[in-house]
Symmetry: C2
Subunit: 352 residues, 2 copies
């Protein structure tokens, strides 16, 4: 690999690869009649959100209101789904303000949340569309059964300022038939109550190429696919060449024949393992293992002669791209080995 | 616990606890004639660096030049040790500029690094003091043997623009006698060469109360002690009451009798485990386990009835305080349950 004239550690985003990743999944969804609603938590960059919409995405997904506020403040985004239980007056007021700027929808899985939303939207010019979040096996948020989903849908329908829009889930990996059964049951129970289930929102990068196997979904939320990462290569979802985000690091010490140290630690690569061993994949060096991170050091080992010298540059595909994109204020946009510009990750650290 | 009127998730720093932590360790070191050089990587706040110096610290430690630049730009810091192999012309030039503002020293463990430093400092008004970093068992950076330490010390002494200052190590936990033997050997080999070993710098919070057992150390670098965290409570170094940094989170979902979800995930608590199970300790609720994090969700489980409702606030001691302080642009300064002000973590994300 050619040496890149950038101070390290740096987070590189290869736009050639990003654009190909976005186009490939958009084409796949287009061919199956599935709408794409990318999750901006991966890149946190308005320019990439705009690119996704230009390629055919119907809008974006955000996890927190502050992410949505940041993306919307840059203009051009007209449709945002916030896939989070929004709680507390400080937050519902901001949501209300946001709803006057763009087409907004949210999710909820409990009565406290929808009552708070209703209070904030009771006198709104238009009702806030709410999807019921369903726990189809991932055991994070979500109502526990299709029956509870139907009850909550009805409760949303009766509350002032709210409109029941549909169902949302983050399916557990490799369980699409079970998820489809769960959602179909909930949909049928809700339909019986006289309500319309306009949207069924599924998502997740690990099962992205199986998305068509659950035809009752109308929308697909997807984040990591734009960058890809070691976890997705490991699952067979993509190849190293499809990984758009890499960490550029420099070898700062080679203390022994089988061990070197780079200037990127957990403050860049993060400690996310996602079930993997080691902290990233060094491109073009399958023999190397990043076996230990401290905040500013990454330790690299090899069973063979490590064959690295102080000053060498390495390019690393991290375990989890989304969390790496959250660590620094800037990422470096490149095309192959050509540096284009440094850009501010403006939705970084937006957890409110 | 009283509810704190802050939007969540938030990182709280209790100044009462910080001040007590700083005073306690300073007193301990004073009583043993050991100089304290706090590592600002934990708090990243100039005001706390100033407080540490006012209490008797001789200066600060930084890991990267950008941290040092940020701390110095706020004024009042006069002595900085950067415990990192500084490599590349871009960085050595910045180091040179910094050396004209404050008393600066660095470490090195290889010839490439000291040659680069020498090039940048050859025409400096005063030589740059360099400590040799020693691998005394932590197997990160550092020369492998006392003999190599002595050779590198001599090489530093002969290079223009540099001055050999002493030895630096980050000792492996619980191995102080072995570390002391290593350093004494290196010191003696260097003294035989006619060089003076002015500084022997040790450090680390896990063994902080054993620091006096290695009397040949002249300085002690310490970071986490200011905040403490779950890893240090687990090691018996401090108690929950000594933990100054906590994460304030809100329960956003209680999907089942034994499971709840909070609005703080890995974007606040981080995935650092430091050998522990779970992602933090919920204060006043020993029965709860934070068993899973995604970026914006923390899942909490209990063997008993979880006894939480949507809207409840929890205060969490994270596994590792330093990395949590790196996640958000602001921390909230408190004294007990009283919020004082929000302050910018200005040395956050400074990895260059």
């Amino acid at each position: 690999m050619k040496k890149i004239a950038l101070d390290t550690p740096a987070i590189l985003v290869d736009l050639d690869v990003v654009e190909a990743n976005i186009a490939k999944f958009q084409n796949y969804c287009d061919s199956h009649g599935l709408k794409v609603r990318p999750h901006i938590k991966t890149h946190k960059l308005p320019r990439l959100a705009h690119y996704q919409i230009k390629q055919g995405a119907i809008g974006i997904t955000c996890q927190k209101i502050s992410e949505a506020e940041t993306m919307i403040s840059q203009g051009g985004i007209e449709d945002v789904l916030i896939t989070y239980n929004i709680l507390g007056e400080a937050k519902t007021k901001r949501l209300r303000a946001l709803s006057e700027k763009v087409r907004l929808s949210v999710v909820a899985d409990n009565a406290t949340v929808i009552e708070g939303l209703s209070k904030a939207f009771a006198d709104a010019p238009a009702p806030l569309p709410v999807l019921v979040e369903c726990n189809t096996g991932a055991d994070r948020c979500g109502v526990a059964t299709p029956e509870i989903a139907a009850e909550l849908a009805q409760r949303i329908d009766t509350l002032p300022g709210l409109k029941f829009l549909g169902l949302m889930t983050y399916p557990p990996t490799g369980k699409l038939p079970e998820v489809a059964k769960w959602l179909a049951e909930a949909r049928d129970l809700i339909t019986v109550k006289g309500l319309s289930v306009e949207v069924i929102s599924s998502g997740g990068s690990p099962d992205m190429w199986q998305a068509h196997e659950m035809p009752l979904a109308t929308e697909y939320r997807i984040g990591t696919y734009a960058y890809n990462d070691r976890s997705l290569v490991n699952r067979g979802v993509c190849t190293w060449d499809d990984c758009a985000l890499t960490v550029l690091a420099t070898v700062i010490s080679v203390p022994s024949k089988h061990h070197a140290v780079i200037d990127a630690g957990s403050k860049v690569l993060t400690s996310d393992l996602l079930g993997l061993t080691g902290h990233g994949h060094v491109l073009s060096r399958d023999d190397l293992m990043i076996d230990q991170l401290s905040e500013e050091h990454g330790r690299i080992t090899s069973q063979q002669d490590i064959n690295l010298k102080v000053g060498d540059q390495l390019r690393i595909v991290p375990n989890h791209a989304c969390v790496v994109a959250n660590m620094l204020d800037h990422v470096e946009l490149v095309r192959s080995e050509t540096h284009l510009e440094s850009t501010s990750v403006i939705a970084r650290g937006q957890v409110w």
